[in-house]
């Protein structure tokens, strides 16, 4: 590995985007791998290097940079966000009447995917196991929802109308038609927060006059690895910070062409001594399409790389919890896992 000391720095810190493959994909900074580098983990160093910058945050999505961390840990956050941060979702659907065209099973599946606005931290997991399956849910682990709707003809519709929106009443069942039925003291406990679907315009079924739905749903707490409906995020992913280096001066028409090879805002053209000179302005915006490598004269003047330890996270919430809370929750989950592991290590007798 230590063959060419000159590019060790690059191998350690950059992922290189070649024309046909990605180079240096694996992190290799384990202790003792590189002579002259001290890669032992130490807290001070980590604290010095590590930082999180929130770039963007709104109620449904956030983007933040996580710098100075190993991909394994960054990936753990992503995986936990997808699969292990709990939420409440509809788990049991009791169909009392369903005369609509949608089959019971399909309807149940559709309902399950509707995000339910309820803070999962305030609820317990329902006991899994054979004997508890028949049990009624209690106020601490279950939310009961109801959907009761019947379609009828609109008496005020004009005679010659053919538009179902005008002809019928309630012919579209939306998530807003789902109502919350508090169990026990839930009405008092959650008095200030409204429990129900996050979005009120999710189409659940279409009805025609005479058809009706009468459904009771039970929501329970669960995690995304059990079923995608429990996943609190639409998606959570990260990308590495792109880095574009110009190896030589690019001028004139070439500069224009170079600019077009990248996403807008990545390359700017400056006027230096009456000549147009390309300059990398904001490589973060690049989508890494590697378009530049298709130009024979340009492919050798740029170096496309990505910073190995700079993760640009994007977390898109389903709306149940704000994304920043989700990330904190994810960190919590990881901490609990670590703690459990440490406990396990402590409790096992070394034999």
């Amino acid at each position: 590995m230590a063959a060419t000391m000159s590019n060790v720095e690059e191998i350690r810190n950059r992922v290189i985007l070649g024309e046909f493959d990605v180079k240096n994909v694996h992190s290799s900074d384990f202790p003792g791998n590189y002579p002259g580098y001290d890669d032992t983990w130490n807290m001070q160093k980590f604290q010095k290097n590590f930082r999180i910058d929130v770039v963007h945050l709104d109620e449904n999505s956030m983007e933040f940079d996580m710098v100075g961390i190993d991909p394994a840990i960054a990936n753990a956050f992503r995986r936990i966000l997808l699969a292990e941060v709990p939420t409440m979702a509809i788990e049991k659907v009791f169909v009392y009447n369903n005369t609509s065209i949608v089959q019971d099973e399909v309807l149940a599946q559709r309902l399950g995917l509707v995000p339910i606005k309820a803070d999962p931290r305030l609820f317990e997991y329902r006991n899994a196991g054979e004997e508890s399956a028949e049990e009624e849910g209690s106020e601490i682990d279950t939310i009961q929802l109801q959907l009761k709707i019947k379609c009828s003809r609109n008496p005020r519709a004009s005679k010659d109308s053919s538009d179902p929106r005008e002809l019928y009443l309630n012919h579209m069942v939306y998530s807003r038609d789902i109502t919350w039925v508090p169990i026990g003291n839930q009405a008092d406990v959650f008095a200030d927060s409204v429990i129900g679907p996050v979005h009120d315009d999710i189409l659940i079924a279409q009805l025609r006059p005479g058809q009706e739905l009468d459904i009771i749903m039970n929501c329970v707490k669960g995690v995304g690895k059990d079923h995608a409906k429990f996943s609190p995020v639409a998606t959570a992913s990260y990308r590495l910070l792109p880095e574009i280096t110009l190896l030589e001066l690019v001028e004139g028409e070439k500069a224009e062409r170079l600019k077009r090879c990248f996403s807008r805002g990545v390359i700017d053209i400056e006027d230096v001594n009456g000549k147009k000179v390309a300059k990398v302005v904001n490589s973060r915006l690049d989508t890494c399409s590697r378009e530049v490598l298709r130009h024979d004269d340009l492919k050798d003047v740029v170096k496309l790389g990505r910073l190995r330890d700079h993760f640009i996270f994007t977390v898109e919430s389903t709306g149940i919890l704000p994304p920043d809370v989700l990330v904190t929750e994810a960190i919590q989950v990881l901490m609990v896992k670590c703690q459990r592991f440490l406990n396990e290590l402590d409790s096992t007798n070394m034999e």
């Binding site: 019971d104 995304g224 989508t287």
Partner: protein, 1132 residues
């Protein structure tokens, strides 16, 4: 420059300089065409022709029945009609019926056939109108179907899918298609070589009355006629003489006076000379001795000579009309045959049997008309027989034939033929099996594909390549891709998108026109003119019409007349330069397709016409009538110069292709970019598209089919084709757009296995619904007993229904929405134990005894009851149909396929967090191993992915139409515009390690189909289970919960390995081990320690042998062979 000058010298400079206006959207002609013709319209046209025209002709041909008993008695048919479909509610009360009602109630969608008759009763002449004689199954969307002329809304009101093409029958609740049958064309001379290389000619003549085959063969340089009514081959010269051409000179003149022709015919004349036959009488006498005796009962006895004359007139070359023994036309026909054979001997000019111009396609209408004619004749002869029997007997009431007209003979004949597919008509010696098939409703495409299927008469087992291979003349007529693999390969074909099949036409006006255009009547010629080098023979539907001097003028005027609309657009005319003939065809069953007419290097269809078309000012018929577009059949196509694209038009071009992608059929039309695929892949997809689940019609939820597969969330393909739009596949899709990453993952993806994303499955990808039905009828029996449905049985203690009856309602039928488990009862039916009428005198028990015959559910997984239908069928028995539903999410082992013949099973389901993701955070739904590409060479799939990706980014659908579609370059430019890689390869991060992957991954949406093969229906394992009664060995097959056989080869392995104890266990202990008592003294089998032969028990010992072995010994004993077992102790 010189080359150019030669080609365009007759154009003015202005013309040359004018910008070339290409017709931009000539594909718009296609939807216009499909509105009037094509796809299933030929079935409907053919059926319409049958019930409106042909049936009247059949009636005319058999219009009068007379009786031998009374010369005064007769019955004459005046008219015949086929009515509208109806159902008899009660006696003599009918009401119109909809096709869907017939489907649900297991009835036949049929209409009454009524006749107007005139007959005598006593001395009265009576005219009766609208007498029913039987019922005719009605083809859906034919002229007599209730669906025709209705709007989509009205059709939907009848519970019918507006997109359903029709063209099939509903018989006893089953949808049946009469497949298109391919045959060698009738009444044409086919010159061919037999296996020894000898040239011969054959004609299969077919008229309404008779069918016969006449062969002309050459033996030792002499010509013979072979016919199955002649006991041996007859010398041709004798036939000529028998037909009244006594002079040798005349014969030779007719055949041809060229030196070599005369030379090759001379031996035949010589033979005739040797046989001492010079006159017609002698010839007829000679032939009379050769006639195979036919049993002719009734009618006056004929002499041998008369018989021979009859034979020549009506059996040999039946299709050439002979009026009052005027053999002129037939002689000339025979002479032409001889001449053909002589000419073919020199130059190798034998005809090609597989050439599509020599083929005719038989459609539902033609097949039904054969059947109906047969049944009608039978009906009439039955009436005659009754008349003959009853008239002589003096009765109080006068003989009234109307009372003896029974409807069921014709009705049952038609229904049975269609429902079994057996067409056996004794009159034509026709006995075909598998003419009809059940319409496959697996997907919309499979139903539509079935309507365009053509089955060939060739035997499937024969290993011949000729009829199976792709013929150049199939271009544009039959789909080159859509054929099954295996034994029926190349024999079962499919129509292309724009093919139309002609129906029969009146030839009277055509004959008249031909004569007016200068054709000289063959009957007025002396015979020698036929072989004049300046003259062309004119044939009409295989019959010689006459000769023409200026054939080019004839052909061009004829075509002009046709374009002007004076002749039917489907009449074809073509010249054959080698045979020096002009063929005019107006018969049914020819394949044809429309082309744009090109004149002077310019297509007649202009942009303004297309504009008119899209604005609805013009229809396809207008294009035909104005001479912009015309139909060409295979023969005429061969006579034309057709440009594929507009820029290919040169000076000689006569026609322009409308759109090249129409050369593919319905199934191949679904494939995006098929022209980039290796051809067998397209063929595979054609077979697989029919197994894809999706939607089958707008009325799918009203249907109660035996098996129906639906997709929970079907999607339109991102990359569509023109064909997809034309056949409404996007309205009834069968598949989903899956995001595919082409990469290897985990090793569970070898051998084409796919990796699925668990989160995608959670969200509904590939989720399907399987519907099955359970049926039950409640009958009434002859002894006034009837079936009953009983309420659920209650448990004595709890007063709750027992488990098996848990789902039953109070009426004893399961209720909708309930979950059914294996062995639960759906209908608690019970049946009287005695159903026969009790014998006279025996005492009738007061209360009939009942026996439970429940309809119970069988299946390894639970189902839900979707709906219950209670109705009555045609026999007035109660009919209960229960629709059962299962929802299935994809699991490991389920089969998926893209639209490029790339099938694979699911090998692993991976949680989303383990899936690789790209920069935008997208996880694939499917991971496909890249090893699927190099050997399959399905470049079309790669392009589909690119086009799909660009379409997703752009928010539009891309086209992958064959020989067109979105260009790769444009599509890739789109990708760049949205910041993606030009080649569609994305930078992807592993979901497991969190580090980027070393390779760029080809990533994007591809349309995936879920195929009907699912593990749930196939998985099978058994530890213990049922055994066969006879051998006591485990049963066979999954349906009987059978064992898995350790077969011969596996046995050989174990023997080779020396694993004798394992063998013993597998073959005996785990199978049919049986304790037998064997007597050591006599070696016979004893019973419970006692030898019945020795009458002792002292030498009896017990041993274990396979039960089958014991059975064998006993069976041998039963046929007087005594197998004796010799016992000895193993330690002695």
């Amino acid at each position: 420059m010189e080359v150019l000058g030669g080609e365009f010298c007759d154009m003015t400079p202005q013309e040359l300089a004018a910008p070339v206006n290409t017709i931009t959207e000539k594909w718009k002609l296609l939807p216009a065409f499909l509105k009037v013709k094509g796809l299933v319209k030929q079935h409907i046209d053919s059926f319409n022709y049958f019930i409106n025209v042909e049936i009247k002709k059949i009636m005319k041909a058999n219009e009068k029945i007379t009786s031998d008993a009374d010369p005064m008695w007769y019955l004459k048919y005046l008219n015949i009609y086929v009515g509208m479909p109806d159902v008899e509610e009660s006696f003599n009360v009918t009401r119109p019926v909809s096709p869907h009602e017939c489907r649900l109630r297991d009835m036949t969608y049929s209409a009454p056939i009524t006749v107007d008759i005139e007959y005598t009763r006593g001395s009265q002449r009576i005219i009766r109108n609208a007498l029913p004689i039987g019922r005719m199954p009605i083809m859906l969307r034919s002229s007599n179907c209730v669906l025709t002329g209705k709007t989509a809304m009205e059709v939907s009101k009848l519970n019918e899918c507006p997109l359903d093409p029709g063209g099939y029958f509903i018989v006893k609740g089953q949808e049946k298609v009469i497949l298109i049958q391919e045959q060698l064309s009738k009444n044409r001379i086919i010159v061919e070589q037999d296996r020894k290389g000898a040239v011969g000619a054959s004609v299969t003549s077919s008229t309404h009355e008779k069918k016969s085959r006449t062969n002309m063969i050459v033996k030792q340089g002499r010509f013979y006629l072979r016919h199955n009514t002649l006991s041996e081959d007859a010398p041709i010269a004798i036939i000529f003489k028998g037909m009244g051409v006594e002079s040798d000179q005349e014969i030779v003149q007719m055949i041809g006076t060229e030196e070599h022709v005369m030379a090759s015919f001379a031996p035949s004349l010589e033979e005739c000379q040797k046989a001492q036959i010079f006159t017609q009488t002698q010839a007829l006498r000679y032939l009379g001795n050769k006639v195979r005796r036919q049993r002719m009962w009734g009618g006056p006895k004929k002499t041998k000579m008369e018989e021979a004359r009859e034979l020549l007139a009506s059996l040999i070359l039946t299709h050439v009309p002979v009026k009052e023994f005027n053999f002129r036309a037939k002689c000339i026909y025979l002479a032409v045959m001889v001449r053909r054979v002589i000419l073919a001997q020199g130059a190798n000019k034998v005809d090609d049997r597989d050439y599509y111009g020599n083929k005719r396609l038989e459609l539902a209408g033609q097949l039904l008309s054969l059947l109906f004619e047969d049944l009608f004749k039978k009906f009439n002869s039955e009436l005659k027989k009754i008349a003959d029997q009853i008239i002589p007997k003096q009765r109080a009431a006068q003989f009234d034939v109307v009372k003896h007209m029974r409807q069921d003979q014709i009705t049952n004949g038609m229904v049975n033929a269609i429902s079994t597919g057996n067409w056996s008509l004794k009159r034509f010696k026709m006995d075909r099996q598998g003419v009809t098939q059940v319409l496959s409703r697996l997907s919309f495409i499979s139903a539509l594909g079935m309507m365009t299927r053509i089955s060939s008469q060739f035997e499937k087992t024969r290993k011949v390549s000729g009829p199976r291979s792709l013929q150049p003349s199939q271009w544009g007529m039959l789909c080159p891709s859509d054929t099954p693999e295996g034994e029926a390969c190349g024999l079962v074909k499919n129509l292309a998108l724009m093919t139309h099949i002609t129906t029969d036409m009146e030839d009277g006006p055509i004959i008249k026109l031909a004569f007016n255009l200068g054709v000289e009547d063959v009957n007025l010629l002396c015979g020698e003119e036929l072989s004049y080098p300046s003259v062309f023979l004119v044939f009409l539907n295989g019959n010689i019409l006459g000769v023409i001097r200026d054939h080019q003028k004839l052909v061009s005027t004829f075509r002009l007349m046709r374009r002007a609309g004076f002749i039917n657009e489907f009449v074809s005319i073509s010249t054959n330069m080698t045979d020096r003939c002009v063929y005019i065809s107006s018969d049914g069953g020819r394949l044809c397709r429309p082309y744009i007419i090109v004149k002077k290097g310019r297509p007649m269809v202009k942009n303004k016409h297309i504009e008119d078309l899209s604005q609805g000012y013009r229809t396809f018929e207008d294009f035909l009538h104005e001479g912009l577009v015309e139909y060409l059949d295979v023969n005429e196509e061969n006579d034309c110069q057709i440009a594929l694209y507009e820029h290919m038009i040169c000076k000689v071009t006569t026609h322009l292709e409308i759109e090249p992608f129409t050369l593919l059929g319905v199934c191949a039309g679904l494939i995006p970019y098929p022209h980039h695929n290796q051809s067998p892949r397209n063929t595979y997809q054609c077979a697989m598209g029919k197994q894809a689940m999706g939607t089958i019609g707008y009325n799918q939820r009203n249907r109660i089919d035996t098996l129906m597969y639906l997709l929970a969330y079907p999607q339109k393909p991102m990359v569509k084709t023109k064909t997809i739009e034309l056949i409404d596949f996007e309205k009834l899709p069968a598949g989903q757009n899956a995001t595919v990453a082409v990469m290897s993952y985990s090793g569970y993806d070898i051998e084409d296995a796919l990796i699925l994303n668990k989160a995608s499955l959670d969200r509904g990808f590939g989720r399907c619904l399987v519907y099955k039905n359970a049926k039950c009828t409640l009958r009434r029996y002859t002894n006034q007993t009837f079936d009953k449905v009983m309420g659920p049985m209650l448990d004595a203690a709890t007063r709750k229904p027992i488990w098996r009856h848990n789902i039953l309602d109070a009426d004893g039928i399961c209720s909708p929405g309930e979950k059914v488990e294996n062995k639960q009862v759906l209908v608690n039916k019970s049946m009287p134990t005695v159903t026969q009428t009790p014998l006279e005198g025996s005492t009738q028990p007061g209360q009939p005894q009942y026996r439970d015959v429940p309809i119970s559910y069988k299946g390894s997984t639970d189902s839900y009851i979707e709906k219950v239908m209670i109705s009555s069928n045609a026999e007035d028995a109660f009919l209960i149909k229960i629709l059962l539903r299962q929802t299935r999410r994809p699991e490991i082992g389920d089969k998926f396929s893209s639209r490029h013949g790339q099938k694979g099973v699911c090998g692993l389901i991976v949680p989303q967090e383990d899936m690789p993701f790209c920069d935008t955070g997208i996880c694939p739904d499917i991971i496909m191993n890249p090893h699927g590409y190099p050997s399959r060479m399905t470049v079309g799939k790669l392009i589909e992915l690119l086009a799909g990706k660009a379409g997703v980014l752009d928010g539009q659908f891309h086209y992958g139409t064959a020989f067109g579609g979105s260009k790769v370059k444009d599509v890739c430019e789109d990708l760049i515009r949205y910041g993606y890689n030009y080649q569609g390869k994305d930078y992807v991060t592993s979901g497991i390690t969190g580090e980027p992957l070393e390779a760029y991954i080809y990533f994007g949406p591809v349309y995936y189909q879920k195929l009907k093969h699912m593990v749930l229906d196939k998985m099978h394992a058994r530890a213990r289970g049922p055994r066969a009664v006879l051998t006591r060995q485990p049963t066979e097959g999954r349906s009987r919960d059978g064992g898995l056989r350790l077969g011969e080869m596996e046995r050989d392995c174990l023997i080779g390995y020396g694993a004798s104890m394992l063998l013993l266990e597998r073959l005996m202990i785990s199978s049919d081990a049986f304790e037998v008592d064997v007597c050591g003294q006599c070696g016979l089998l004893g019973y419970s320690g006692w030898c019945h032969y020795c009458k002792s028990s002292c030498h009896v010992s017990s041993l274990r042998i396979p039960y089958a072995c014991k059975l064998l010994f006993q069976e041998l004993q039963s046929m007087n062979i005594i197998p004796r077992l010799k016992l000895s102790r193993y330690n002695e």
